[in-house]
């Protein structure tokens, strides 16, 4: 099969560049400029794939992005494979490999084809009615259903390509570079509008560029010659950017559009390397002009899906643009004049046109006369009642239509042919218009939905606005564009344009056959195998809404999203149900217009750019010292520092002992820090924290607990009074941004009278926390002149100091119960200070410890971690932290909620300590707690929130929230695990140094 059906050299095809490609493993040749579809047709290949449900052989139907049938797997078994690619959109390149989908073992012999033979038992919605017995078997049926469904295969390797985003702001965006788009863009740009013109094809000019219509003349030239000159002029216009291979996918509110610019898909492998494959253009346009054109629609008749049956306009495009003839014996089937253009185009190239079947009674336009003159037989008032040829069309059967168009009469005529061009009229491509929220109106005359109400500053022009003839396109464009852009004139106001008027119309959504409809297969949605009888069945079963019919029959839900068949579906519903199409409405057009690659939507936001990592100034030191890291919020925090192959447990035990017995050092830089200034700063803290702040002396620190307005603990941290009107608040690591947001909210919206200013300084300071009995000695070594006496520098106070030239703020605060200091320095000095501490601490064997050890040490002291020991349902009372809730303060955030009936209940869950009866067993965090075993239902009292093996206490300890726990001190409870039950006793959550002697030691 190496037939060459290239009939005529075309200016759009470079025949000097021969390109080899593979289809289903066999090598073929095409030329530069070919699509996969045109190259296959040139090689006389029509059979491309199999349909979704019945696995019927299917061929190339269109020449554009609306293709439902000719979809292929590209570059299978490589890391650039892609399923469901439309052969009509793939520009061929050397080395391209394409293969048929949804068939096994091959497209020529597909086992799944058996579905076609039993199709009588598989009407629309059959799966809702069966596969219910036996009840447990659905997943087994489903296994087979799933494997016969799907089309191509998902890639299974990482994508080697990169993607990009670009933001574009323009005055005017013009979508579609056909004749109306080009004229609109040109005139917008000439009038100083910053203009962007995009088109999904690689050539500008739309259909006008290649069509030489007999009776179309612009400025007394053929329309194609005229548009070529217009296109040439575009390159000299300022303010105009043009993007080809760029398909607008989505039109959102506020004139925000997304377009995919395809940059390398047409290149061979070596040229794709290291280039951006596709770019998502995020366009914000002041004005949008939609010149998206119209899609030809097919006709719905029995067996209208065979390979060789194509849109008439596609037959013409393949001949005119690609120089490829789709068949040797051609027939056209039409309800309008446009098929006559296609017929004459083939005829003029010396290709045989057997006949034209026209459902109209007559047409006396010039093009019809020209076809008659060429000697082509026209069957007026006829319809096709059947077609033959399993894998390739070989004949059609034709009968005369009754006057009402509901039945056929007379004798059946069989005509042999290998290509049938079908012309069912034109559907304006209003997809983007409706995506933007535009409302449509139905034009009974042309049987089309047209733009009616614009939701934003936009204009539809050309055939997407219902103008199908060049003369009306140009005339209406001139009028509408001037109004839309508010300009005086355009450069085509006085252009002389000749085009024909169509005067004869006849539309029949479902063409009759000589067989009862039940025995026919008139496909409406080719890809999903939804037929007109499926639609009628749905209506018969009571599905009335078009959305119901769509969902029940799957019409319009294929990868083409019903671009070809949706109008017929609506027409058949309207006719069957006896309602007007205008009243019926359409289904919703959803973005994207054509499928959009995930990678393109994601752009660069993959891998390390998926989300920011925040690292402390000491991070490099942690890495050099082999720390393991934990992700906390966006931060990377040192988790523990294993040495000599220690496990985490061993590291943590060692670190914990060191911090209690000598000295440890923790990188606390990630804690949120908010600088608070203003004459009302104290009052502000009074309102946001549960405790009182007015009396905190300058230079003193205080722990604060912050609630949500619903009374639940939200955040905590130590705040230091740096000056009369100056505080530094710390927050949890993960909560910093939210706390700042919440405080700003109250300040700006509820308490604007307060003189307070908030500034996030989290990143501005680095914090090294030294803790343990020897911490004082270290600090004394590095700042000898600072008086560290209890009198001068007691617990919960702060000092400004200087370490060599580095200014620092030192807080004597503790999260471990040890005597400890937090040294805060300007972030750039973080690592220097850290290393200084390490150096000074050498003699005390200073031990860096990570978050895990910090968690253990604070748990020994019963200090909570918000988010671990609380979960948004705990009040301070529940945490047994009544001491921090001011009874005197009139109000603070969340106060009122603490006095609701449920929040005041005694038997809420309360924070307690747990000790395991066997001190070596460490409880699992998250484990549930009960008081009685073998209950049904199980009454869960609470759960373990924090749990560790304490090397300092030489036993396992845990914090837990337990219903009514505060009244259960010493009570035995149980932890029922999957495989065993662990006995525990409720204890005071302060396990270590309950008298707080060490802090002041």
């Amino acid at each position: 099969m190496s037939a060459n059906l290239r009939v005529k050299s075309s200016e759009f095809i470079d025949e000097t560049v021969r390109i080899s490609f593979k289809f289903n493993g066999k090598t073929y040749y095409g030329f530069k400029g070919d699509t996969l579809a045109s190259a296959l047709l040139a090689n006389d290949i029509h059979l491309v794939g199999r349909s979704f449900k019945y696995h019927r052989p299917r061929g190339i139907m269109t020449a554009g992005s609306e293709e439902p049938n000719a979809i292929v797997q590209v570059n299978d078994k490589t890391n650039r494979t892609e399923p469901n690619v439309r052969a009509t959109e793939v520009e061929i390149y050397e080395g391209l490999e394409a293969s048929s989908q949804n068939c096994w073992p091959s497209v020529n012999f597909d086992i799944g084809g058996i579905n076609n033979a039993i199709s009588a038992f598989l009407p629309a919605g059959f799966y809702y009615k069966t596969f219910m017995w036996p009840a447990s078997f659905w997943e087994k049926y489903e296994y087979f259903i799933r494997h016969s469904a799907g089309l191509g295969k998902s890639p299974t390797e990482k994508d080697p390509d990169i993607y990009d985003h670009r933001n574009i702001h323009c005055d005017v965006l013009v979508v579609g570079a056909g004749i109306s788009g080009i004229l609109a863009a040109k005139n917008a740009a000439k009038n100083n509008f910053k203009t962007l013109l995009v088109d999904e094809k690689n050539e500008l000019g739309g259909a006008t560029i290649y069509q030489n219509r007999e009776f179309n003349k612009i400025d007394n030239q053929s329309s194609s010659d005229w548009i070529k000159k217009e296109i040439q002029e575009l390159s000299n216009i300022k303010n105009l950017e043009i993007k080809t291979r760029t398909s607008v996918a989505a039109y959102h509110g506020y004139n925000y559009l997304l377009a995919r610019e395809n940059l390398t898909d047409h290149l061979e492998k070596k040229d794709k390397q290291d280039k951006i494959r596709q770019r998502l253009l995020k366009i914000r346009a002041k004005k949008v002009i939609l010149a998206t054109g119209a899609l030809e629609r097919p006709l719905i008749f029995n067996n209208n899906d065979r390979p060789g049956i194509m849109l008439s306009s596609a037959v013409k495009k393949y001949a005119d643009f690609y120089g490829v003839v789709s068949g040797k014996k051609n027939i056209f089937f039409t309800n309008n004049d446009s098929a006559y253009e296609s017929a004459l185009c083939l005829h003029n190239k010396g290709i045989q046109v057997e006949a034209i079947i026209d459902i109209r009674e007559k047409s006396d336009s010039n093009i019809v006369k020209a076809v008659k003159k060429a000697g082509i037989t026209i069957h007026w008032s006829h319809t096709i009642v059947d077609t033959k040829g399993y894998k390739k069309l070989n004949s059609i059967s034709v009968m005369k239509l009754s006057n009402d168009g509901l039945s056929v009469i007379g004798n059946k005529i069989n005509i042999s042919c290998d290509c049938l061009g079908v012309a069912g009229g034109w559907t304006p491509a209003v997809h983007l218009f409706t995506q933007s929220g535009g409302k449509l109106t139905f034009d009974e005359n042309d049987k089309v939905f047209l733009p009616n109400k614009y939701p934003s500053d936009q204009l539809c022009v050309g055939s997407c606005n219902g103008d199908f003839k060049i003369k009306e396109i140009i005339n209406n464009l001139s009028i509408n564009l001037k109004k839309f852009l508010n300009i005086e004139k355009t450069d085509f106001d006085n252009l002389s344009v000749d085009s024909e008027k169509e005067n004869s119309k006849r539309n029949i959504w479902l063409l009759p056959s000589n067989k009862p409809i039940g025995k026919t297969k008139p496909f409406v949605d080719y890809q999903n195998d939804a037929t007109a009888k499926d639609i009628k069945l749905a209506l018969r079963e009571g599905f009335r809404s078009i959305e119901h019919v769509k969902r029940y029959t799957t019409t319009g839900m294929g990868t083409d999203q019903g671009k070809l068949g949706n109008m017929h579906a609506l027409g058949i519903i309207a006719d069957t149900a006896g309602v007007k199409m205008g009243d019926l409405g359409t289904t919703t057009f959803r973005p994207p217009y054509t499928p959009l690659t995930f990678g393109t939507i994601v752009g660069r936001n993959v891998g390390e750019y998926f989300d920011t990592f925040r690292r402390t100034p000491m991070n490099d030191w942690h890495i050099e010292n082999k720390a393991e890291f934990e992700n906390v919020g966006q931060w990377k925090r040192a988790w523990y520092y294993p040495i000599n192959g220690e496990t985490m447990h061993e590291s943590v035990q060692r670190e914990s002992i060191a911090a209690r017995e000598s000295v440890g050092i923790l990188d606390a830089s990630t804690l949120g820090k908010i600088d608070i200034q203003g004459s009302d700063a104290s009052e502000f803290l009074n309102r946001v924290y549960t405790n009182a702040w007015s009396k905190l002396g300058i230079g003193k620190c205080r722990y604060g607990l912050m609630l949500n307005e619903d009374g639940m603990v939200y955040d905590d941290g130590v705040t230091t009074r740096l000056g009369e009107n100056h505080y530094l608040m710390t927050t949890t690591t993960g909560g910093a941004a939210n706390v700042l947001g919440k405080l700003e909210d109250y300040l700006q919206t509820e308490w604007p009278e307060l003189d307070v200013y908030l500034t996030s300084v989290t990143d501005h300071y680095a914090t090294a926390s030294i803790c343990g009995p020897n911490s004082k000695k270290i600090l004394n070594k590095i700042i000898p002149d600072l008086d560290l006496s209890e009198e001068n520098f007691p617990h919960m106070s702060f000092k400004n100091a200087q370490i060599e030239n580095i200014k620092c703020r030192i807080m004597r605060i503790s999260f471990t119960g040890e005597h400890s200091y937090e040294i805060n320095v300007q972030a750039n000095f973080g690592k220097a200070i850290w290393e200084k501490c390490m150096e000074a601490g050498k003699e005390f064997n200073i031990t860096p410890y990570g978050t895990e050890t910090m968690h253990l040490l604070r748990a020994e002291k019963g200090f909570i971690i918000v988010g671990q020991d609380t979960d948004g349902t705990m009040t301070p009372i529940d945490l047994q932290m009544d001491w921090i809730v001011s009874k005197k303060k009139y109000d603070f955030i969340g106060k009122r909620s603490l006095y609701r009936s449920d929040t005041m209940k005694e038997e809420r869950k309360q924070l307690v300590g747990l000790l395991t009866d066997d001190p070596s067993i460490v409880l699992e965090e998250g484990a549930q707690i009960v008081s009685e075993l073998n209950q049904s239902p199980v009454n869960m009292l609470g759960h373990v929130t924090s749990s560790y093996y304490s090397p300092n206490l030489k036993k396992s300890i845990a914090l837990a929230v337990v219903r009514n726990g505060k009244n259960m001190m010493g009570k035995k409870l149980f932890i029922p695990m999957e495989d065993k039950t662990i006995n525990v006793t409720v204890a005071n959550p302060v396990f270590f140094d309950s008298k707080n002697k060490r802090i002041n030691a």
Binding site: R80, E82, P123, Y128, P155, P591, F598, F610, N631, G872
Partner: protein, 417 residues
């Protein structure tokens, strides 16, 4: 009596070219008066009517739907069904639903394609691990099947997940509920409508409620675009629009209605045969029987009834999808859409009586109502019929917002349901 659906009826009808199938439901005009009217013909509303007729013998009832049945969130969600909730009240509610799901196709004689392919929830940081373990323990003790999986077990169950420890959000573990899965969303609405219709319920489409007539303390009827309908009991199941209906009765609810988006890819051969959810990066994905990857995005943060959301939400979701499944980079988005979800402050629903006698609300399901459909219908029917909640929905009352006794599922499922 309706045709029973089966392989035999399908074969029999094939011989008459499927010309003799009966209507799945009638197209009635509203009567002057009903014993109860359900406002909203989604899955929950139709299920409510079905169980009112079936279990409480209330046959003179109607469902009024302003558009087409199943056209709201029932037909717009990502069809995930699971019951592995943290709190006892939630677990009770959702597992009640899951148990009904398990026999629903047979009960309705309509294949709702409930596929117990398992739902996996991933942990990406140490707090996720604690939270998921906590939930797994609670589930187990509540009799809900749930297991905790190590990273290796996650990988084994769903090999296409990127479990490399070096990625931005490494998978540290996960939970699996094997009884969980997906169902065919449209079929649920259609199956309940057919079942309810068969028992005499009037399913009235294209009938919008315009007002609720009440005297001082009880309901007297509803004004609709098809005229006034007298009734003493009105059950509102109008997800997204609950506040709009409540306003007609002079009530305010603790709800905000927000856009929620979802999308599907082009259909491909089976590549992922379970449901995977990740709250931390906010991505959840499954594959439909048709072969489409079904991907749920998050809500926007503003109130909107436009059924449209922002692009950055979709972009963020796909960023997360490619983080976890880099192999999907070349897959293509076929279709995206939006719905309106009404969200309660505690991310739990309301199935409750109100201060007005005879007026009941079933709302606030947020992003996760589909899974509850049968259970919600059953319990709401009980509440309407008895004017008292069932013990399984007692906690989901309106008074909890006054007392503070919230069912706060945020802790366990911060974003996704």
């Amino acid at each position: 009596m309706k045709n029973k659906y089966s392989i035999f009826s399908l074969v029999k009808n094939a011989f008459s070219y499927h010309e003799n199938w009966q209507k799945a439901w009638k197209d009635p005009t509203p009567k002057k008066e009903y014993d109860a009217v359900i406002v909203g013909g989604g899955g929950h509303g139709l299920a409510t009517a079905y169980y009112l007729a079936k279990k409480h013998n209330m046959k003179n009832i109607a469902v009024v739907e302003k558009g087409w049945i199943g056209g709201g969130n029932t037909g717009r969600n990502t069809t995930i069904i699971r019951s592995n909730y943290l709190w006892d009240a939630s677990a009770g509610l959702y597992d009640h639903a899951l148990k009904i799901w398990e026999g629903l196709s047979q009960e309705l004689n309509y294949n709702v394609m409930f596929s117990q392919r398992g739902v996996m929830n991933l942990a990406h940081n140490l707090q996720d691990v604690r939270d998921l373990k906590r939930r797994t323990h609670a589930n187990r003790l509540n009799g809900i099947d749930a297991v905790y999986l190590s990273t290796e077990e996650v990988k084994k169950f769903c090999p296409i997940i990127n479990t490399s420890p070096d990625i931005r959000y490494p998978v540290l573990g996960g939970t699996l509920q094997r009884r969980a899965g997906t169902a065919r969303h449209d079929a649920v609405a259609w199956g309940y409508a057919r079942g309810a219709d068969e028992m005499g319920v009037d399913v009235i489409q294209n009938c919008e409620v315009k007002g609720i007539k009440r005297n001082s303390d009880h309901v007297e009827g509803i004004e609709t675009t098809k005229g006034f309908i007298k009734t003493k009991k009105v059950g509102v199941v109008a997800a997204g629009h609950s506040s709009v209906i409540a306003n007609m009765a002079g009530l305010r609810l603790p709800l905000e209605s927000k856009p929620l988006q979802a999308l599907v890819s082009e259909p491909v051969k089976p590549i992922i045969d379970t449901v995977v959810m990740s709250n931390a990066v906010h991505a959840y994905v499954s594959q439909s029987d048709k072969g489409e990857l079904v991907i749920g995005a998050g809500t926007d943060d503003y109130v909107s009834y436009s059924q449209k959301g922002s692009h950055q939400i979709v972009e963020g979701t796909l960023n997360a999808i490619l983080e976890l499944y880099p192999i999907f980079s070349r897959m293509r988005m076929l279709r995206q859409w939006g719905g309106i979800v009404d969200i309660c402050p505690d991310a739990s629903p309301i199935l409750s009586k109100t201060s007005i006698k005879g007026l009941y609300f079933n709302c606030g399901w947020g992003t996760g109502g589909f899974k509850a459909t049968p259970g919600s219908g059953d319990l709401f029917a009980h509440t309407i019929a008895n004017d008292e909640p069932h013990k399984l929905n007692a906690a989901f009352n309106l008074n909890r917002f006054v007392s503070g006794d919230l069912v706060d599922e945020h802790g366990a499922a911060a974003v996704a349901h």
